[in-house]
Each structure stands twice: as C-alpha cells, then as structure tokens.
C-alpha cells in the first residue's frame, strides 16, 4: 500500500500545524496585532484595501505583511515540494463574486473563520453566534455540493509563469512596505495609507509578522489546513481530518491566551466585536456559504494562490474589493453594531450565493 510521503498530510501532521498556528496567533497579538486578531485573513485583507486607498476608513489602513507572507510562504513551499502547478479557469468571475460576498459577510460579523476561532479562544462570547452561522453556511454549501454543485474544471496554465503573478504582486507590495514605511505620527507615506488609531495602527513589528506568517504559509501549504473544510468534511463525509487541525488551533490559542493573560470572557465590550447576535450569525452564514461554494476558507485561498491557482487568487482579489465596498458603502460593522447597509447587503449576498449554489451544476 502507498503510504503518505507527506507527514503533514497525516492526522498528527495537521494537528501539529494547528497547534503551531494556535500559539503563533496570540503571540502576534502580544507583539502588537489587534486583540483577538493575531491573525484574521478577512480583517487583514481589509486593512490592505485601506493601505492602498481602495477604501478610506481611517482606522483600518495597514499593508498587513501576514497576508503577503502567507502567499509567499505557500509559494516557496509549493516550489520546494514540486507542487507548484499554475492553473485556472474554473468560473473565475463567479469566484470573484463569492469572494466579495464572503468578505461582506465576514465584515458584518467582524472576522473570518480564523478570527472566529481566535475570538472564541479569547473569551469573546459573541463569536458563538458567528461560529454557529459559519457552520450553518457551510452546511448549506454541502447541500448544494450533494446536489451536484460545481464550478467546473480548471485548466493547466499555458506558461509556468502564469502562477507567479499573484505571488509577484504580493512581493511587490512587500517591497512597497519596505520603501514606504509609516512616517512618525502621520497617516500617509509616499504612497501607502496608514492608521494613527484603531486596529490599523496596531501591529507586530514587521520582522515578527513576516517570519511568523511565512512559517504558517509553508506549514499550511503542506498540511492543506482549512478552517472551512474542517466543518465541511465533518458534515459531508463525517471525516475529522481537517477538523482535528482546527480543534488543535483552538486549544493551542486558548492555552496561549490564558498563559499570556489575553483571555477575557464575556459578551459586552469585547474588542472589535458587536453584540447583535442575529447579524453575527447571518454575516457568518453568508461567509461560510461563500467559502463553501468556492472550496476553501480565506486562508486556504491564499495558500492555493501561492501554489499557482489563479482561481484562488481571483477569490482573494474579490475579497479585497469586497472590503472596499463594505467600508465605502456602510456595510461593515463596528463595535457599535452593524453598518447602515449591513443587513440588506447580507440578505442580498445570501440570495446571490443561493442562486449560484442552485444554478452551477456538474454537466
């Protein structure tokens, strides 16, 4: 029998990766990242949209190096292990729309699945309704998958260079971050936008963020760590492989938070969170459904894009545009509650995703 040559593809492998990420995320918070946001793929992409001026919400503007390093780490890992495979063409624009609405839903809740787990591990009770919403959205996605939902096949790219585009874009952003750092007490570098207060002003030192995220990028590429797939596989196949990674992630984050004094249980006054439970639930239902229909959580999409998957890169780009829309048009929530247009956007998103789920079928 053919064994697994890849240790990280084993049960202990994914548990190991979950533990590492679960320790690193609260540490990134300790080093300066926003509370319960050591890692949040949605929030960090939203901050990147702000740094580039795609939206001008002054408190969430920072070119988060974690996102860059996730892609570059996965890219280097894929090259090293001969898994770099430039590909694309599986309903890219539908994936873009799914990415947009995934972000819109995540910003109604205020966090991606990674941050949902981290908020829970930090004692934020509001994350319970977010998690239940996430699971419901994923469950809905599995119904469509069972009924034959598919976005069709990817094609190998004509050139090996095709898959380099997204990692190269990330590398370009990294260069920009190095040559255009935040001037003291100013919200604008030569090009990039920065925050003077709020989550965008809170970040770990660049070298710390980069090295932690590079390691996570490599490990997650090897192990296929996916916070959405964890629940999907459990619901769809009763298979707990990916789930054991996410469970390890939660337990390690909880333990690390307790050790660092970062565990503050409660509902009211939780950092970068609101208490409107219906919208915490529905926001994450939308996000969970969109992730489920596109085949990966927002982190996984970044790691796939590092492997040369152009469709995943399109999804991530959709998320960044979704963040701009969320903040430009009052869809994003704040600690005060949901934005003026957050509710209607969530409902429109759910309707659009359900239509996509119903109409995209395997031929």
């Amino acid at each position: 029998m053919e064994g697994f040559k890849n240790f990280f593809a084993t049960r202990w492998g994914i548990i190991f990766v979950g533990l590492v990420i679960g320790v690193l995320a609260p540490l990134l918070q300790k080093f300066g990242n926003p509370p319960n946001m050591g890692i949040c793929v949605a929030c960090m992409e939203r901050d990147i949209a702000g740094a580039l001026g795609l939206h001008r919400a002054s408190v969430v503007q920072y070119l988060r190096p974690e996102i860059i390093a996730f892609v570059l780490g996965a890219f280097l890992s894929a090259l090293a292990f001969k898994e770099y495979r430039p590909r694309g063409g599986s309903a890219p624009f539908i994936r873009f729309i799914l990415g947009m609405f995934a972000m819109i839903g995540a910003l109604v809740f205020l966090g991606c699945p990674w941050r949902t787990i981290l908020r829970l591990a930090g004692g934020d009770g509001n994350a319970i309704s977010g998690l239940l919403g996430l699971i419901s959205g994923i469950w809905l996605g599995t119904r469509f998958l069972k009924a034959g939902y598919s976005l069709g096949k990817t094609q190998p790219a004509p050139s090996k260079m095709a898959g380099v585009a997204f990692p190269l874009l990330m590398f370009g952003l990294l260069v920009l971050l190095f040559i255009d750092p935040q001037p003291p007490d100013q919200a604008r570098g030569m090009i990039l936008f920065y925050s003077l207060k709020g989550p965008g002003s809170q970040h770990a030192p660049l070298a710390v963020s980069l090295s932690a995220a590079l390691l996570i990028g490599i490990l997650a590429q090897r192990s296929r760590f996916c916070t959405m797939g964890a629940f999907r596989d459990l619901i769809l196949f009763k298979q707990g492989h990916l789930f054991s990674g996410v469970a390890a992630f939660f337990i390690a984050a909880l333990a690390t938070n307790l050790l660092l004094g970062q565990f503050n249980p409660g509902f009211a006054g939780q950092p970068i969170a609101h208490t409107m439970q219906l919208w915490n639930f529905l926001g994450m239902t939308l996000a969970g459904l969109a992730f489920s229909l596109s085949g990966g959580c927002p982190g996984r999409q970044l790691f796939l894009s590092g492997e040369g998957d152009a469709d995943a890169a399109v999804f991530a780009s959709g998320m960044i545009v979704g963040a701009a829309i969320s903040h430009n048009f009052g869809l994003a929530s704040s600690p005060a509650g949901i934005g003026p247009n957050g509710a209607i956007a969530t409902i429109i998103g759910l309707v659009v995703c359900i239509i996509i789920g119903l109409t995209m079928r395997r031929r």
Partner: protein, 72 residues
C-alpha cells in the same frame, strides 16, 4: 472490469465526492481516479481508506496522478 473517474481540475471536495459516489454505486472491484494535485491525491486516498478500500497503485503522470483503489 474497472471504472475510471476523471477528477482532474476539480476543486475540493469534488474529487472525494465523486470517489465516494463511485464506491457506493460501483459494481466493479477496482476504480481508477485521475487527479491533478497532491491535495486531491491525499484526499481521495484518505476517503477510499476510510471506506475500507485499499490503495492498489499510485502512478505519477504528466497531468497529475492515477490512483487505483480496490475493494478488500
């Protein structure tokens, strides 16, 4: 008699869904699954083993992998 499933280019979890569908429906004792990524290869192998099927052969091809599984 063996059956072949072409799951190349499909995103998660479709290769596994197709494999499990074939395992449930198939009258044949052997199934060949074509996949194009290492992730799909691992997922298909894991799913087949969880159903009590054996991995008979994994061949690397220019377009990915051919996995042959068989009923115990």
């Amino acid at each position: 008699m063996s059956e072949t499933i072409d799951a190349r280019g499909l995103s998660c979890p479709e290769p596994v869904l197709l494999t499990l569908e074939a395992i449930k429906k198939s009258g044949s004792a052997e199934i060949e699954i074509l996949v194009d990524t290492d992730t799909s290869k691992e997922n298909v192998m894991r799913a087949a083993q969880s159903m009590g099927w054996q991995i008979l052969e994994v061949n690397e091809e220019s377009s990915g992998y051919k996995i042959k599984i068989g009923k115990e």
